[in-house]
Subunit: 228 residues, 2 copies
Amino acid sequence: MKKKAVVLASGGLDSTTIMAITRHGGYDIYALTFDYGQRHKIELKAAQKIAKYFGAKKHLILHIELDTIGGSALTADIPIPQERKLKEISSSGVPITYVPARNTIFLAYALSWAEVLEATDIFIGVNSIDFSNYPDCRPEFIESFQRTANLATRAGMEGKEIRINTPLIDMTKGEIIKKGLSLGVDYSMTHSCYNPKKDGLPCGKCDSCLLRKKGFEEAGIADPLFDQ
Amino acid sequence: MKKKAVVLASGGLDSTTIMAITRHGGYDIYALTFDYGQRHKIELKAAQKIAKYFGAKKHLILHIELDTIGGSALTADIPIPQERKLKEISSSGVPITYVPARNTIFLAYALSWAEVLEATDIFIGVNSIDFSNYPDCRPEFIESFQRTANLATRAGMEGKEIRINTPLIDMTKGEIIKKGLSLGVDYSMTHSCYNPKKDGLPCGKCDSCLLRKKGFEEAGIADPLFDQ
């Protein structure tokens, strides 16, 4: 029997690369996506297409009310920062697009599902190189969550650690894209933009679009999103 | 301005005592309750009454789909253990009423809301003395979650710790009830049973009913639930 992995799947570039890595690693994939009131709800459709493409055994889309809690430009009526310099994105503190405790909540659900499935692994596409200074994307957060997870669960009490895997954490966006391409990822399926236009096309100006653009430039290929 | 506290409020005996302690401590109370597909949904009504009684500034009831994930007698079609000996409850491993990663999920939401409210404190009524061997009620879990919370949030990055408070963690059920009575708690408002009868009365046989009974015996008073 194959090992089972819960894969956090946002429909974005990073989590899609993660799904390719998980499939390549021989896992049965249990994809987990959140409808959390994000303004870029279009990413849910991308996540569905991608989970299907990678042959996920199951794909759960949980509705969670982070918009009731608010406090972020992604979940409340706060403007999305535009056309920031890459240097500014990576060095000017935690931006307004940070969703309070989002990855703690996402990982807590992944942990719950992993325990029920008797999965050995959770995969999450966090990255701390070309990232937006979100505190919950840093390796020290992930390491601490791993210790908490071991103490939180029956599995942990019984010595069966559920591992939190972050294979992209030290990679640049360009390296992530090259890795994905080597594993056959079709990035035209992915969605990254925080603030898509009505027709679903990316705005090209938000931090997420700018980091994606940097990645394709580094990888030396055109973003297939714009070839369609 | 008063300090703000997010209080996890289940409508049960422990969390109601916690709410009295928080009020006594001079906090503005932000009560947080989860409709998570629990079979004892009646506790939500108790939580509403109690939050109102203690003058909570706001009471959020979040709908979260733990029943979609399942894996527990509280959220799936699995029988509730009945008439276990107290010794068995406290020593026979993690019971089937354990909901995988429930307190990790609850605390993650509390952390998110606390960060948005700029609250300094979270209060949770976990107890590791007269308890059901849930891994996520132990002090080592709470301590680890505290470290994770500091790393997960903008508040933590800026050196503003959001403290996780567990004033009941080392108390017996009898001590908890005596503490609550000294602060004016009316325990007839609370609901503890996992498997209530159709008229809402407790079954008297589940672990939660048995631990409650032990508490009132130790406190030397009758449970006001049965005086009505």
